[in-house]
Symmetry: C2
Subunit: 427 residues, 2 copies
């Protein structure tokens, strides 16, 4: 562009010496017009070209060499398959934007982004967004940055509020749309949904959509004091859904944002948000590329560097109808699943070595019951709740009446266990 203007100045010298030549003037105008068209092109040119196939060649110009090296290191069997996966990131804030950037840099096939908010300077204490993006929608700003980082990723952005009726329908439709051939965890068009929203209502909406679609998802959250967070894997029917074990206290039907006092906002830190985004996407990579142990729940407490883990089974009394449907399906499919698993294990054992299988049981090892009740939260309840909040879980009185049903359910499970053993013997 600069040389263009220099050429213009050289032409001017000629104009000065031979003012009678009118061709020079039209030449000047051409220079000027070219400058304008150059200025109208995007301010930041995307310099990185699209790459057809991921290569493991170790050269400075290969953006995938360090990822393909995961194969040689024996961590991932087939890294290239990351290009087949579609991941939805719901909420492009402090956690979601960083998660989207990590997936983009890893070369994910297709990324679906959902948010209705705009970038503000008040977001600058977290990674990803830049001050000059203030005022843009978070989805537009994210697409601008991510496209520049890796043009190989298919980006779809949805500037919608999923907690509205219309937004929810669009959300579900977008998840169902099948764009790529290969998918994991469900019959939808995406392999995984990552929830990176910042409120209870939106989490319940993601939960509803994923329960209805039988879609595996991961939930993430950061506390209001910015020093703790968590991620959780949710497989409809197999693990607890978000409604199976809701938070102890929730907003009573009114907008959570109005609950907060005027002039008060939650604290946040780029460190905590970055760590939660990191463990979330790490768990997603382990799930998609099938390496390591996929965590069911991983907490993070910054003050003591404590990382609790746990597992939550589905609640047979969950308030979510779609969850109960998925639980039923999961139980129905259990004998077939167990038989397939046993057959696979038998095959693996036979192929590895001809070690005799013991038919006796001297150590008294038995098949463990698959449906332990959800562990009850032992936090002592404080009776005086602030206005606008109510207890989500039933009180002990309410619970007692449902205990007899639970015992019945347990007996049902024993019968089910017998059926599984029969299926195992039959296979």
């Amino acid at each position: 562009m600069e040389s263009e203007v220099k050429a213009l100045l050289e032409t001017l010298n000629c104009v000065q010496s031979s003012l009678s030549d009118s061709d020079l003037v039209s030449q000047l105008r051409q220079h000027g017009e070219k400058i304008i068209s150059l200025l109208k092109s995007p301010p930041q040119q995307i310099k990185r070209e699209k790459i057809k196939e991921m290569s493991s060649e170790v050269i400075d110009s290969n953006p995938y060499s360090r990822l393909m090296a995961l194969k040689r290191m024996g961590i991932v069997n087939n890294y290239e398959q990351i290009r087949n996966f579609s991941v939805a990131v719901v909420g492009v804030g402090g956690v979601g934007s960083v998660a989207a950037e990590m997936l983009t840099r890893c070369g994910i096939g297709r990324l679906l982004l959902y948010d209705y908010d705009t970038v503000e300077l008040a977001n600058m204490n977290r990674l990803f967004f830049r001050p000059e993006q203030a005022g843009m929608t978070k989805t537009d700003a994210a697409v601008q940055t991510l496209l520049q980082i890796n043009p190989d990723v298919i980006l779809e952005s949805y500037t919608i509020n999923i907690t509205t009726m219309d937004g929810f329908n669009k959300f579900v439709e977008s998840l169902k749309r099948q764009v790529m051939s290969h998918t994991r965890g469900g019959s939808t068009g995406v392999d995984l949904v990552l929830s990176c929203v910042d409120n209870y209502e939106a989490r319940m909406v993601v939960n509803q959509a994923c329960n209805e679609l039988g879609q595996t998802w991961m939930e993430s959250g950061v506390s209001e004091d910015a020093v703790s967070g968590h991620i959780q894997l949710l497989i409809p029917g197999e693990t607890a859904c978000f409604a199976c074990a809701p938070p102890l206290v929730v907003a009573s039907g009114i907008d959570e944002r109005t609950l907060k006092r005027e002039g008060v906002c939650a604290a946040s830190l780029p460190t905590t948000m970055g760590i939660v985004a990191g463990v979330l996407v790490q768990n997603a990579l382990k799930y998609l590329l099938q390496f390591g142990l996929v965590s069911k729940y991983l907490g993070y407490s910054a003050l003591k560097d404590f990382f609790p883990t746990m597992e939550m089974r589905p609640n047979p009394q969950c308030s979510n109808e779609a969850c109960l449907d998925r639980q039923k399906e999961y139980l129905e499919q259990k004998p077939a699943r167990d038989a397939a698993k046993a057959a696979a294990e038998l095959e693996s054992a036979e192929s590895e070595a001809s070690i005799p299988l013991h038919s006796d049981n001297i150590w008294n090892i038995s098949v463990v019951e698959d449906h332990e009740p959800v562990s009850s939260v032992s936090t002592a309840k404080q009776e005086n709740l602030p206005d606008g909040l109510l207890w989500e879980l039933p009180t002990a009185d309410t619970l007692e009446t449902t205990l007899s049903e639970e015992i019945l359910a347990e007996n049902g499970d024993l019968d089910d266990l017998q059926r599984q053993l029969d299926a195992l013997n039959a296979s």
Copy 2:
């Protein structure tokens, strides 16, 4: 800029109609020169203005509202003091660049950056650098991005290789230079050094500089297979230095990079690097702003989501002379430190309540020895090392001859303990 060129075109129309006026031509040249000067100014204009004082006002345009909220949440007593701190980040790669960005977004006072490498497309699988920065030095690219994110931070960049004699001297001089009044942990001009380098040699150099200066620092690292990492706090004389417990195997004097086979590179992931940068800066914030528990060592194993912690005492037989000097100083200052601590505790106990202090010792609680020997690594040594590697730790035979000295040292410590008790009673 566009209007400037449009004005130029309008002038051209005049030139066409009145070619005899030579003033118009000089006017044209002025336009051209102004365009060039505009083009030479930074391509991305910094839109965020400098902010004189951190405010906790909850408005969208305040980039510090979510950080100042840490005070109201009871996490940090005085967040604004972050502006008084100087932090050095050595190595601006996958971990260092993200650490620098986190500190910048947190509003750190002054940031010193050290790297001699250039940005390559092969770095794009980690956060921070953008493809269009390929070819720039990492320090220049980092300053470009960080200045735009937060113009309030004082940025100093050093494009030097600290492992050269000249680079080392410049490194030490830059750490000593006192620019701001308030500093923590030493008599240098920085409050903390974060080591984010990727090789043993550079770590030993940071270790040497910090031991010489008595500078508290934190070390970080990520494994070659990209699925584990760690951070460590090093306080010269008080904790183990990097030479006190070196890695089992190190390069034998030759360049580590040539050790690697042709066409082979280490794997890396934006997730692991982001998590390590996150826990590193979180630990730095806890250390600087004095909240929570500052971790001495925190490991991260991605495959199993395992986060080991440990503590390493200094090695009285450390090969690093400066470390031994700091250990000696630390021991000499121990009686005074203990007396001050006991006095502070006494004062705190007296002011809190008038609970009687027990002079008897029914639980048999005693002062624990401060100098346990460094825990020995129990990994079975493999005898056949590849060419270019050697064992860093002495073999059992070599160690045996030094054991008697160790016993003497232990006796010395007991005398020291007696002196401490005397000092305690005297105060």
